[in-house]
Structure formats: structure tokens, C-alpha cells
Symmetry: C2
Subunit: 298 residues, 2 copies
């Protein structure tokens, strides 16, 4: 049994489970100040008693480098009070079980690959397009990382000819997130997201730059499927065929693999709100597996 | 002892070695028609007698998916006669040893990480800027791949304001390779590469788009160092400080890790012409290690 925690910007979901069909308990908490929030999580986990591993899928940026002094911390987030908060070290020390720690989008990628829209695939990208744009990439069933985790939501994409809208990313202006996340679309259209019709002209440049992210992801060589979720995608099904078509046009036949042009290559998620906490369950399971492997290797 | 083959577009290097300080033999052959070239390689390897593993670092595109019918083949190359040529299956069957097969740039990344400019690092990008632009990415010491290998030389980069030169990639026009590989620079400057001075205005847009590749690579989260080689980089040291500065400016402080701004983050290679064949040696060693692991797991 694994304890999984999705640490979101507004809410926490704690799950005691083996998978989507073996959920023992599910508790939701609001994300407030770090000390209060972490004490709340500990109260839930203390109540569960015994579990074999712990997984945490967190909003970022976070430090995932096990050799770094700040491993397990939320690092430079603009979220008040949370910058520099230790999460994973604290919980790993309290529960003394193998502990996995990665981003919420990597968690969602792992969960969708294990039980969802990319079931059976080990090389998958998960893209969330919501308040921000995040990308989780897994290859061979494990997260692609190194120095840090993916931040591919901040690439500077090719633009439609004549599109020079400045974008709203405070760091980059017209990076992908500054052009195509929910707040950017709203700012550009001059109305609320739910009021933007499918035939609104704002979608054309948005679909173009999201397709550029897919172009870039295909060129990493990794994903056998791209799962796109988050509030912008969920509410706007019409984006999927547009993004697929623009991606195929942009790749221009260079990658000669027919699956890329199939509708099944860019798809919505299947796990809904449970992708995050189920991803945390996979992260915990992988941490346990790693520890077992290191025993075997001795 | 490992047999390593660098399969290049114009020449083949065969190496019998354990590493750069333990080279038993080195034979160079021209790349001609596939049948003649492969027979030449077999003649060299037959003469070596016994080796424990075989590694092949090849020009691409190639099929690296062990479950695909065309695994081990050069696939859709424009190089006459080579499209669809089986390389790795043929040699693996002949020598009956564990055989690794990947791109020349992944080979170079592995070799530079093991013995060269990124020695001791397990998360490294190798970029070649020559006739084309190729990227090899390794994470945790092994190649990052999945559906296929990296083709990040064909991203569509952000351009300098006012730069609308059309580019020469036959697939994409102004993708990175179409803008910043050797032939593109020559076409844009209207002179031969060796005649373009360091203060020629052509370098400004070239450095900008190469920095965009580095920006994208940093955002994958993987590399702890980016090694940039190939004919364009080797002959133009002035590009390194320009690319570093433009990359740091483009990232705009978003990735708050100080090492990214150090001169040691983007560096020239250290192994010169031996990076390719030494990479093939690492690929062979990794294939051997994989086989040993699968025995242990039984």
C-alpha cells in the first residue's frame, strides 16, 4: 500500500492506494501556509498507520536532485511563504519509507501511462495547459530529468506570420506560457475563458504555439503519445484537431513515423482529477522499487 | 574489449578498445555503397577475432526501437542507397555479442560524459553544428529516447526581431538547421565558411538561434552541461561567449540555478575526432551491461 500526496497550489489530495481500483482512502485539504498544510498532511498520514512507500507530486519549481542540499524542497515559487519549504525530506524522515518526489505533471504522466490515456506506453509526454503550462516527460517508464525537472512550458515558440502579441509571462513575455496559458488567452481575447467561443480568432495563434510545443516534444524523440490536459484543454475539445493538424504541418514529414499523424498521438487525459494523486502513488511505488533494486545489487 | 564503429556519412572509424587510453586498434574506411562498406567493416572485425560487445554510433535517421521491425536500420536518409539498410541486426547476428546502436551524437554525448568535456556528469547534451545540426541527450548516463532518437536540430526557434531570412532546410525552411548549420551560414553570408570573419554580421542571428536551442535544452531539465562541437563550432570560438550570453538573457532568470550562467555550462568537446568511435565503445559496453543485468534478474 502506497501513500500518495498531490501538492497543488490551491489544494492537497492524499491517497492511500495501490491504484485506481484499490483506493483505501482519499482526503482533500486546502493549501494554506506551509507549516499548517504540512501538519495537516501529517495528521492524515499518521492516521493511516502503515504504508510501504510515499510519493509526492508537487507544484514547482522543486529540487529533485538527491545530491543537492535543497533536495525535496519547493524552491523559487512565487506562491507566498512556500519558497524554500522542505516537503520530501521532512515527510521521508517522519515515515521512514522510500519516498518519491517529482512535479505534478510528471506524476500525471506516470499515472496516465500506467492506468489512463497512455496505458501500456512507457514513453509519454503529459502537457497541462491551465493557469500555467507544464510538461512531464517519461521515457522507459521513468521521469526524464537531470539538473532539474522539465520547464518546457517556457520555450519561445515560432509564431504565426504577423502575430507579434507581446505575451504575459513575467520572465519571457511571449514564451509558450505567456502566449497560451489560460490567463494569456483571456488577456488576449479581452474576455473570460468560458466566454470565448470555439470560433473566436484568439484560438488560431494559441493552437499554433501549442502545436509548436508538440513539434518540439516529438523532436526530443521520446513520446509515443502526448496527453494534453488542464483547464484550457478540458473546456475546449476543438483544440485537439487544430493542434494535431498544425503539429503535422510543422513537422512537414521530417519524422517519417505514421503514428505521429494519427488522432491517437495527441489525446485528452483519462484519469481526470485523480491523475495527480495516482501519479504520486506511482512515484512512491518507483521509490520502493529503487530501494529493492539497491538491496538486490548488494 | 569492445568493438566500436562510428558510421559517418563520409567515413567509418572502427575501434577495438576499452577507452581512450586502451585502444588496441583503429581502422578508418570510406563510406561508399552499403554492401561494400558493411563488407569492409566485417573484414576489419573478423580480423580482430574475439570481442565482448559491439557498439555502433551511426548517422541518421536510424531505427533504435528494439521492438520495431526495422530495428537497427538506417531509415529515411537522403544519402544515396543507404535508406532502409540494416546495420545493427546484421552485425549483431554475425558476431553474436551484445550490440548497442544509437546516433553518432548520442555516442559523442556518452563519450564526452565518460572521458571528455563532461567527465563525471551523467546528464549531458552534445550538440553538433556542422553540415547539419544534431543533438544527443543522455540522462542518468543513458540515452534519452523512446519513439525515436532526438532530432532537436529541427526545432523552429524564436528569431531576432526583424530577422526573417527564409532558411534552407528542405523540410522546414527556417528551422534551427535551416538557419544555423554550416551550409545555411554560408548561404546567408554569401561566402565560404572559412572566409566569414568573427565580426561578420551573419553571426548575430546564428548565435541567437543556437542560444534558443540551449534555452530549450535547459528547459528539458536534463543537461548539467552542454557540449557543442562540429565544424561550425570548432572553427569559431567566438560563438561560445555569444551563445552563453544569449541563452542566459533568453532564460531571463527563470531557472534559478547559478551553474547555468557559468562558462562551464556550454563548452567545446575534448575528445576531437575520437568522440564518435569512443561513443560506440560506450554503447557496446552499455549493451553488455544490459545483458548482464538481465541475467542477474533471472
Amino acid at each position: 500500500m502506497v501513500a500518495g500526496i498531490e501538492l497543488g497550489g490551491t489544494k492537497i489530495v492524499c491517497l492511500l492506494a495501490r491504484g485506481p481500483d484499490a483506493i483505501e482512502d482519499r482526503v482533500q485539504l486546502p493549501t494554506t501556509r506551509p507549516e499548517e498544510t504540512l501538519a495537516g498532511i501529517e495528521h492524515v498520514l499518521d492516521g493511516w498507520g502503515k504504508f510501504d512507500a510515499l510519493g509526492i507530486a508537487s507544484f514547482g519549481p522543486i529540487s529533485i536532485d538527491r545530491h543537492a542540499a535543497d533536495y525535496g524542497h519547493v524552491t523559487s515559487t512565487p506562491k507566498p511563504h512556500w519558497a524554500g519549504t522542505d516537503v520530501a525530506k521532512r515527510l521521508a524522515a517522519r515515515y521512514e519509507v522510500p519516498t518519491g518526489f517529482h512535479t505534478d505533471v510528471v506524476g500525471a504522466a506516470l499515472a496516465e501511462a500506467r492506468w489512463g490515456a497512455a496505458e501500456g506506453l512507457r514513453d509519454v509526454a503529459y502537457v497541462t495547459v491551465g493557469t500555467g503550462i507544464g510538461v512531464g516527460l517519461i521515457a522507459g517508464g521513468v521521469p526524464v530529468d537531470g539538473l532539474t525537472h522539465s520547464e518546457l512550458g517556457h520555450i519561445r515558440p515560432d509564431r504565426l506570420t504577423g502575430d507579434d502579441w507581446i505575451g504575459i509571462c513575467p520572465f519571457h513575455g511571449g514564451c509558450l506560457e505567456g502566449l497560451a496559458a489560460g490567463p494569456a488567452i483571456g488577456a488576449r481575447a479581452g474576455k473570460k475563458g468560458e466566454d470565448i467561443a470555439a470560433d473566436d480568432p484568439v484560438w488560431e495563434p494559441v493552437a499554433h504555439v501549442l502545436a509548436q510545443l508538440c513539434h518540439t516534444l516529438v523532436l526530443t524523440g521520446v513520446p509515443r503519445r502526448i496527453v494534453m490536459g488542464g483547464g484550457v484543454m478540458v473546456g475546449n475539445d476543438h483544440l485537439f484537431p487544430r493542434i494535431r493538424a498544425a503539429m503535422v504541418k510543422s513537422l512537414a514529414g521530417y519524422i517519417a513515423l505514421p503514428e505521429i499523424a494519427e488522432p491517437s498521438f495527441v489525446v485528452p487525459p483519462a484519469l481526470g482529477g485523480n491523475a495527480g494523486p495516482l501519479g504520486a502513488i506511482v512515484l512512491g511505488g518507483q521509490a520502493l522499487e529503487q530501494q529493492l533494486k539497491s538491496f538486490t545489487a548488494l
